[in-house]
Symmetry: C2
Subunit: 328 residues, 2 copies
């Protein structure tokens, strides 16, 4: 089986490639070829999948027809489309966001249609397709109401994915990822960054500022659970999904206060007390418009599995990123 990952240099793409190399199989078939693509050179996974596991890495702009046609020419059995301009950048660079997130996704669908083969295409959408006001919790019957350019681009991607699938041009599954936490690496400037930072930094001996009150709730999934969603989406029989091809993934609805208390139970007072509460009205205002809680019944019935609780999410971070130990 040949697997293509678009957006392979990002955090999720890297972890997905590692997982595929480790498993060596997908949907009950041996993975023999893994093609990685990103706008910067993606690294081959460190884990070895044994002989006969061929990895190739490519760099380019997926919104260019030549680039995407060349990637699709190899007729991969499964394509993971993770490539995207993130929310903040799509909001400040209108042209770039539309070019990559909408033209790029549409161009991928067209390239597949023109190449006349029908791969499973796993498209990472986002809970940004929902904008306030929301019902509480948000049911599967509540549909697109984005309030950002990124959300509009993802919503249009979902709609196109549905139609190209309905027409038999591709076998698409869209998954709306929760906010992924705890993200490894350095703090970034995303408005949602603090959901990871308030756990990651204290565990590394550093202070972290929480810019919202402890009562603020959010919808999160660990990187490990998120990779599990991607794998399950690749393996799911299409006929089970029905015509509405995009699914809200099961996350955990957890308040910031509960996150810090979970950190206290896992790592002790000294670590948890490194969180400083300092409300930032700007970030507070942005976060107020975000969805907080879902009832992801369809995805749950289809076998997508959420993290059991936030303590587990913290332990996953310690295991996968800190070698199982809490420094300092």
């Amino acid at each position: 089986m040949h697997v293509l990952i678009l957006g392979a240099a990002g955090m999720v793409g890297r972890k997905l490639a590692e997982r595929l190399a480790r498993d060596g199989q997908l949907a009950g078939r041996t993975v023999s070829q893994l093609t990685l693509h990103d706008v910067v050179p993606p690294a081959a996974p460190a884990a070895a999948a044994g002989a006969g596991f061929e990895v190739s890495a490519h760099t380019g702009d997926i919104a260019e027809a030549d680039t995407i046609n060349a990637l699709v020419a190899g007729k991969p059995d499964v394509i993971f489309h993770l490539a995207a301009i993130v929310s903040g950048e799509a909001e400040t660079d209108f042209d770039k966001g539309y070019r990559i997130n909408l033209e790029g996704t549409w161009g991928l669908l067209e390239a597949i249609r023109q190449a006349e083969f029908v791969p499973r295409l796993v498209f990472t959408s986002s809970i940004a397709v929902f904008g306030a006001p929301f019902p509480e919790p948000i049911p599967d019957e509540f549909h697109h109401t984005p309030l950002t350019s990124y959300g509009v681009q993802k919503a249009c991607g979902e709609l196109l994915l549905m139609d190209y699938t309905r027409k038999g041009f591709v076998d698409g599954v869209g998954i709306r990822l929760p906010t992924v936490a705890v993200r490894p690496g350095k703090p970034n400037k995303a408005a949602s960054g603090f959901f990871s930072g308030i756990i990651r930094e204290p565990l590394s001996g550093q202070e972290a500022v929480c810019p919202v009150g402890p009562e603020v709730r959010h919808w999160v999934a660990s990187p490990r659970a998120s990779i599990g969603f991607l794998i399950h989406a690749a393996e799911l029989p299409g006929e089970k999904i029905g015509p509405r091809r995009s699914l809200t993934m099961p996350g955990l609805c957890v308040s910031v206060g509960e996150m810090v208390e979970a950190l206290r139970r896992v790592a002790g007072d000294k670590v948890a007390d490194r969180v400083r509460w300092e409300r930032d009205p700007f970030i507070d205002g942005i976060v107020a418009g975000w969805p907080q809680n879902f009832n992801p019944r369809r995805a749950t019935e289809l076998g997508f599995q959420a993290d059991p609780d936030f303590e587990t999410i913290i332990r996953i971070h310690i295991e996968d990123e800190l070698g199982g130990r809490i420094p300092g």
Copy 2:
């Protein structure tokens, strides 16, 4: 004021141009210039709006950048975007539907953005953005679930309209028209055509076949009410609408049996008995997936007015299309 109508040769476009020529004003301002565009030459309205009312007619392909840029270069104050490949053709000609309905709409938004002016843009969307299963009635909080290419193209158009409006590039209002009935003219092959045919043909002395049972309900508006929606959408203060810029228009939820009984009350047994009931499983199957009933609270609160009842819809057809008399 300068008004541009894209799709001016269609039934709705023609009636809108006539209405503007008759009124001579829009949103309290004198209309001095009316630009009509379609893929076939649009006719200038018959009604005279007096001196100083300039009409120009243009023909071309709105999905071509040169064409749309030239139309937008005149910086019209209000643009009515009615141009579309209809549902049936968008389903059979995938490329043409996407080219005109999605690329064309996106191209229009981009042309406006590049020309750096902010017109009121009235976009005719459709209840085809909704696909089964539905709540009953469908509330304003139920969003995009299209099951056709046409519905996907209109839903993406709504999303883009929202985002370009939010960014201040255009002042957009999307209106989801009910099925327009009674459509004047010859029967067409649209699956929805019989909703008009079972009234229009009997009133003209001809037999009409009804391919679904009398219990089938649908969501309809007269051509006159539909033109009223367009005018009201052009005049509505944007700040009243809020960020969700597309609105389901108030139609009448009426069963086919009720339609024929209304025809009986208006025009007598002889006319109503010209409807022959002959169930067509193919059309019956298509219609079963269509929305039937809405609660269009937002549009109603914003002052959009539905037809009062189906008898009125029949009388409007007799007045506007048959010179006030029932032939034969």
